[in-house]
Amino acid sequence: MSKYTDHLGRPLVAITGLGVVSSLGQGKEENWAALTSGTSGIHTITRFALDNLRTQIAGTVDFLEESTKGASTLSQKLASLAAEEAVAQAGFPVDDFGGPLFLAAPPVELEWRNRFALDALVKSEGEPGYDLLLAACRRGPQVDMFNTAEFGYIAEVLADKFGTRGLPITLSTACASGATAIQLGVEAIRRGESDRVLSIGTDGSVSAEALVRFSLLSALSTHNEPAHKAAKPFSKDRDGFVMAEGSGAMVMESLESAVARGANILGIMRGCGEKADDFHRTRSKPDGSPAIGAVRASLEDAGIEEDAIDYINAHGTSTPENDKMEYLALSTVFGDRISSLPVSSNKSMIGHTLTAAGAIEAVFSVLTIQTGTIPPTINYDNPDPAIVMDVVPNVKREASVSSVLSSSFGFGGQNTCLVMTAEPN
């Protein structure tokens, strides 16, 4: 183990650039000020009609021109803004990054507005349906619509804009996607494929149909009034998550190369761990073993003991199932110490940013290490007696934090955890 390698002789991975956008605002400064003051970004939805919808709230990003242009366009813009901030902070040219791109992006489909527009082209020719939509396409290519429905399009635009190298990877591991994008970047650096990587998680996919889909699975909070009280992780009366949008971006480099170029090192991405669940599509194995396995795998990969973790940035979705299972996993790994170890959920304020969540929460985890401020879990008014944790209730806390565990658990049995530490020297 040299100055630049870890316990397994692998290159240490330095974090040198961070970028974030959420319903709380654009950029680290705005977000961190709001997050540490316990501000909620959850509000009544204005983007689409709310009639017949049980859930009428979300943490949508409404302050961009692209906010009303559809999932693909908004996801691309959010990713682009976060990446600009991260690449600029790292000090690389924003149009010539020179390393690979790992992008967690939402699965996109052709928007209803586009389906209606296609139908309008051929209305007079017959009954509505797919045959007619296809006939509309035969009149001439609809390149803009095509792009918005292609999974590889966003990464192609970003790769071009930022000058990343090679075939970019677009991925989805549901609510763990952002963490997986970071994990893939770490692995690439450890393999020596590149000195630097750009990992982004983005999600701008809140639409009526997306909301209805989650709503039909009974996954969403219906606490519409007041909106800012809806996301209440670890509370007894938690009733579901709140859909939200945003993006987190991270520039990572081999520590050696970061030091060599005199970069400002914000933290170390020390370890990543994952374990898939084979129990059910939306529920976790009752014994919590896959989530436990993911937490342990990340600690093992980082080469540190449980005792060394100072703070946990929880997945904490505010669904009855997740928070219960997350507590089971964390209390199993950390034992009695879990009652005094600070564990907070950013989702109490920014909602569940789905594909972006793992990346955004990793950014906030590094900011916690840098500033010594732990953001609170807000709306913690009725503690769940079955969850005995220090959730940093309602008010931020100052503490010296040198190691953070950030957990992400998602539908389809996805469990991924990241361990971040302060710069070694």
Binding site: P141, T170, A174, P290
Partner: protein
């Protein structure tokens, strides 16, 4: 860092041509006519999936019901690959196995979509109508049945593969990255064994729409892959099917006495800006890099049929005159995300059998070679992403 040899020890295949390794090898060697359906989605042609008894790999009806066709094809094919590798019932090998799935999106509910399109013509309150229809007509479980990462999720549930689960997206490029990443991880020692592949259902109008928005589908029936220049439409004929591979380090395979089809010697990928950069040169460069030690005996091309891109690939392939070429999309269609896993599987089979199957399009592909020790597999995306793999005899 380690430098392991990466080998293929299991292949799962299903398509219009049949099910399993032998059925595919036979279909290509016997020169059977492609199976096509030009009626259901007229004027488009698809290669329909062979009849499958889902119970063979997905024993629980409850599980089958939770998947749309694309997920079912993939979960089934993954089972075939695990079985072929002899680890399907090895709980501990499956529990420590890594997984990378190349996934598209699932199938939408055609009837609900049609109702909404009809209502939209007569209502002014489109937003309200949309909510009304979606909340009352959508099947609650459909979301999961069409969600991209749930193909991997279903493979975990049905086959107990739980070491890790990663889903890559992005059309042909996702298949290239999936294999590239799994190979890189095993080579470097980050993983010992992995399941990697993809699936595609061509028999759904929304899947056709995804291509036809850009005018990419062939509109006048089937034609041989390399002879679509003058046909109506964009040239692509899609096919239903799946392709999964079990990859292992050579040591891992040897220790458990596994049969080895071939080694994956290298994966070469790119994503150029096609409006700016020269695609012919890029393809030639990738094949050149994959041939740098020695020209491959055979190149299995995953050319999609997309007119310009396919012509460009053919032009590049023709410059490697010592390698015989076989384009397979004329035989079983273009499988998008699963195309690269498919051609890598067919290239591995050719190396394993030491021979090339006869030309698929005799006018444009030459016979031979008598001996196949190395084979390349290509997938040049219809819109973006380029990939080549090199398979060698072990």
């Amino acid at each position: 860092m380690q430098n392991n040899t990466v080998v293929i020890t299991g292949i799962g295949l299903i398509s219009s041509l049949g099910e399993g390794v032998d059925a595919h090898w036979k279909a290509f060697n016997d020169g059977l006519e492609p199976r096509i359906d030009s009626e259901t989605f007229k004027p488009y042609t698809v290669h329909p999936l062979v009849e499958v008894d889902w119970n063979n790999q997905i024993p629980k009806r409850g599980d089958q019901r939770q998947m749309e066709t694309w997920q079912r094809i993939g979960t089934y094919t993954a089972g075939l690959a695990l079985q072929d590798a002899g680890i399907k019932d090895d709980e501990s090998l499956c529990a420590s196995m890594d997984m990378v799935v190349a996934a598209g999106g699932g199938e939408r509910d055609v009837s609900v979509d049609t109702q909404i399109l009809a209502e939209a013509r007569v209502r002014n309150d489109i937003g309200t109508m949309l909510n009304e229809k979606l909340t009352t007509e959508l099947r609650p479980t459909l979301f999961l049945a069409q969600l991209s990462n749930l193909l991997a999720g279903n493979i975990s549930i049905v086959h107990k593969v739980t070491g890790s689960s990663r889903t890559f997206m992005g059309e042909e490029g996702s298949g290239i990255s999936a294999i590239d990443t799994a190979v890189a991880r095993i080579r470097s020692g980050q993983s010992t064994h992995a399941l990697v592949g993809g699936a595609y259902n061509s028999q759904h109008p929304d899947m056709l729409l995804g291509y036809e928005l850009n005018g990419m589908l062939k509109r006048d029936g089937w034609a041989p892959l390399w002879q679509r220049e003058d046909s109506a439409g964009g040239g692509i004929v899609t096919g239903s099917g799946g392709a999964f591979l079990v990859l292992e380090s050579a040591d891992h395979a040897k220790k458990r006495g596994a049969r080895v089809y071939a080694a994956i010697d290298g994966v070469y990928s790119a994503q150029i800006r096609r409006r700016r950069d020269d695609l012919t040169q890029t393809v030639a460069k990738l094949i050149g890099a994959a041939s740098s030690d020695k020209a491959a005996d055979l190149i299995i091309s995953g050319a999609s049929g997309a007119k310009h891109v396919t012509a460009v690939e053919k032009a590049a392939l023709d410059t490697f005159s010592s390698s015989a070429v076989r384009g397979v999309a004329g035989k079983l269609g273009h499988l998008r995300e699963a195309q690269f896993p498919l051609v890598v599987a067919l290239a591995a089979l050719s190396v394993f059998n030491g021979s090339a199957f006869p030309p698929v399009d005799a006018k444009n592909e030459r016979a031979g070679p008598s001996d196949v020790n190395t084979a390349l597999a290509t997938s040049i995306g219809g819109t973006r992403s380029e990939g080549v793999a090199r398979l060698v005899k072990v």
